[in-house]
Symmetry: C2
Subunit: 131 residues, 2 copies
């Protein structure tokens, strides 16, 4: 077995957590409602955000636009309590199974994925939030 295939086997089949950050130091994180299975949001974590998430049990991400750590809900109070962290085969993506404290989207929608493609247009799949 070559060193490289050994590395792949270890990463895919082993029990060591070896998160693979990309060239920008980020890993993709999908927040999924632990109760309903709905995908709530997709964001990125750097090592700092991952460590903060594991330490506090609340989802933290790295904002690419603001260039800093942020806790989801730090302003709105709509934190995401992490029940489980799933890791994919090549360890470059995470699924956070969470219990949301409120609407996950900053627009007030329960999930950021409140629209679906219908032909060439978008249509709402979630009722609009009460203003």
């Amino acid at each position: 077995m070559s060193a490289q295939s050994g590395d792949v086997a270890l990463r895919e089949q082993g029990n060591a957590f070896m998160p693979r950050f990309d060239s920008a130091g980020l890993i993709t994180a999908v927040a999924q409602d632990a109760a309903t299975g709905a995908v709530l949001m997709v964001a990125f974590m750097d090592a700092e955000a991952l460590a903060a998430t594991r330490r506090t049990g609340l989802a933290h991400f790295h904002s690419r636009s603001r260039g800093r750590l942020w806790m989801k809900g730090e302003t709105s109070g709509h934190v995401l309590r992490v029940q489980d962290i799933l890791v994919d085969c090549d360890q470059d993506a995470l699924v956070l199974q969470v219990t949301p404290a409120g609407p996950a989207c900053h627009t007030g929608a329960p999930t950021c994925f409140y629209r679906r493609l219908e032909g060439e247009e978008l249509a709402r799949v979630e009722p609009a939030p009460v203003a």
Copy 2:
């Protein structure tokens, strides 16, 4: 309203599909089992992969490592039939709700997310596939 906030409102609340590719020309795509809600895999699409997915109804992605378009299942036959495409608030991530034709992971697992973090280690959450 400034031009910028107008753009944001249009992107977040409008019915125009305006996918926002990143500086590498990519958008994050999460494949979710339409029947079970399980997150199957996370990958990236460029405009070509998105167009191929919409045209064929089968999930296509852009491989960053191979630098080319690929259809999920092109080798294994385990294609992902796309039932719905959900779009997030700022249109930089997609959820493909799919019907998988077989195990979604190249390892043979039903989903790429077959392990969870337990303390400092990973533990399998899906039974190992039959060899």
